[in-house]
Amino acid sequence: MLTPFLALVRKDLKLFFGDRRALLMTVAAPILIASFFGYIFGGRSGQTETSRIPVFTADQDGSAISREIVSRLSTDKFLEVKPSTLEQAREAVRKGNATVAFVIPKDFGADAGRAFFNAGKKPAITVLYDPSHGMERSMLEGILAGHVMEAVSKEMFGGPGGRQVIQESLAQLDQSAMPQEEKKRLRDLLRGVEEFNAGQDAGKESGRTGPREGLTLPYQVSSEAVTSGSGVQYNGYAHSFGGMGIQFILFLGIEVGVGLLLQRQRGVWKRLRAAPLSRAVLLGSRATSAAMTSMFVLMVLFGFACLVFGVRIEGSMAGFLGVCAAFSLMTAAFGLLIAALGKTPEATRGLSIVTTLLMVMLGGAWVPTFIFPQWLQKLTVVIPTRWAMDGLDAMTWRGLGFSAAIIPIALLLGCALVCGALAVSRFRWETGD
């Protein structure tokens, strides 16, 4: 049985490698797309040039506080701030030229100062936002809160506006309906601030104090990308080449299935069936050649990614090869299943492409699964492409050991077995006239 088995495998490989144009496309297309996605999602150093978020500001107040807020926003490294009128700001957001616009209303400075010390009416900053940028809006509101707090506190602790607010507050305190005990505590606080400001003035005259800062955030953020080891930077190409490799290899699987369906329509299938060959030899040889070509394509893709984009197998090489081999086998079994369940090549191809794209998308090959809703993230754990992606990520840029590859390999092999068994049991061996 070995001679016909090897002859059939050799034939499939010869046909695959003989079609140079198709072979080039099989390898070149994923390389091109993976290179693009890799650049977009982190690039080689994991630090692709971060584009600043366009923000418009409409300062209708013109107070020291509002000017300070705009000034602080303008120096933020994540933002590209453009001062404008309310109308210009609204138009910019509507046209998509700005992600958000902050509208600082008239009397904001005075109202914010008063609200800073007591329960006075809080002024509102209107945020006009582009609904297609929901995630950025939340981040920008956080940035705004920090800058507003710093600007208002700076003015309250030493600024002319702050002194005036404190004097007004002290004068109004006696008429307040506040309980006596609370009035006393607030009066002590306001007088303490007055004394602090007086001390600042004295220090300024004698040159002992630095510039006024007001309240600041009581912490700094220190970011560190957790990769396979210290000094090893995240390489976005590792994920994108894995993702595109998986997608295009599944397309190869479709071609295996559709190819078998086409072969059934030709005399060559009758010739194969007329020979003394078991079904295991006929389907097994096709699965073997499909797995070999899949493995070849994966190796070429990662070889290219290593040479050109510096992708490294930071984890276990055996685990990486194991995940690739298991996924290749699963793809081969997937191809056989397509041939078993499909009726006509044309209809089968269309349905298989849709199924594959869904699997690829939900498996996180295009974009990481963490941006999916929670329920969808839970759902995707049953999708084989997710196992393959997790396995490849673990063995490449995450730098995990072989143990992290065991579960993906086991799941992929299990899936290959199930698909293969289904394919053999459902395959229509007989052809009519």
Partner: protein, 311 residues
């Protein structure tokens, strides 16, 4: 060599093969004749083990085929109606593959391939890709691929479909050579002249059933006349011809008159024609055109079913 008994196969409500029985002895060439859709290919597929019959049995060299990998399949060489070759591979590569399917070692394969290519006259094109071959060359290679493992029984499913007369003739010469080598051939076709040239015996099937199974001579005996004398009469006098009187002329088997054309069936054209023509002349009939044709399998089929083979 081949014994088929009460073979039946249906697809849903459609009965493709309805109790076909036939046999072919060692070295015999059997023609399986019938119009398109008669059940020829389904019958061949069941004999080759590609289709499981609903009922009936197939014995090859006295035994049933048991399973896909039965070594007894080596007795069979199938030439499928559709070309069973890989276009992207050369003729030799194709033959290497198909020989390997029968477990032949490399040396045996090379010998068999050389012999098969020589037989079909494609030795010089051995290294050329099949995609560049003409339809006739592909058909010849299709035949060669079935010969590599030296099968005793060859199942030829319309092996000359769509080829030019020259290639058809070449294929016929190949088949005659195989016949001389003692191979058993089951040849399906709806071209009667092919069957007449090649086959020792004809099995005519229609709508899944055998309607005749005999030698060419035996089938001719089913006909009222072996030859047909066609006389185109002068229009004015043709009306008055007395057909009953003509039937009494010696040698006349059948008489038919339509649109001024008289068709007279006779057993022996040379002996019987003069008497008929003399009978016509004596009664003042003149004729514009005179022709004769020999009854063939087409006529047999027409006689048996009332339909043309190419309907």
């Amino acid at each position: 060599m081949l014994e088929v008994t009460a073979l039946r196969k249906s697809y849903g409500n459609v009965v493709a093969v309805d109790g076909i029985s036939l046999r072919a002895g060692m070295g015999e060439t059997i023609g399986l004749l019938g119009p398109n859709g008669a059940g020829k290919t389904t019958t061949v597929s069941m004999i080759a083990g590609l289709l499981r019959p609903d009922s009936g049995e197939v014995l090859i060299a006295g035994r049933h085929l048991c399973g896909d990998a039965d070594p007894a399949k080596r007795n069979i060489g199938l030439v499928p109606q559709d070309i069973g070759l890989y276009d992207e591979m050369s003729a030799r590569e194709n033959l290497h593959l198909f020989a390997a399917l029968y477990g032949m070692d490399r040396a045996s394969r090379n010998r068999a391939i050389d012999g098969a290519l020589d037989l079909v006259g494609l030795a010089e094109r051995a290294k050329h890709k099949v995609t560049g071959f003409s339809g006739g060359m592909k058909r010849r290679l299709n035949l060669a691929a079935a010969l590599l493992h030296d099968p005793q029984l060859l199942l030829l499913d319309e092996p000359t479909v769509g080829v030019d007369p020259q290639s058809r003739n070449a294929i016929f010469e190949n088949l005659e050579t195989l016949k001389k080598r003692g191979k058993t051939l089951l040849y399906t076709t709806h071209y009667m002249e092919e069957a007449e040239r090649l086959c020792d015996r004809m099995v005519i099937i229609d709508r899944g059933k055998v309607i005749a199974d005999d030698t060419l001579q035996g089938l001719h005996r089913l006909l009222p006349a072996l030859n047909l004398l066609t006389v185109e009469l002068d229009d004015q006098k043709a009306e008055g011809l007395r057909l009953e009187e003509l039937r009494s002329v010696a040698g006349v088997q059948s008489v038919e008159m339509r649109d001024g054309i008289l068709k007279v069936g006779v057993r022996d054209l040379a002996a019987d024609s003069p008497g008929i023509l003399q009978w016509l002349v004596e009664r003042g009939y003149t004729f514009r055109h005179l022709a004769s044709e020999r009854a063939n399998l087409e006529t047999v089929f027409l006689t048996l079913t009332g339909r043309s083979l190419r309907d």
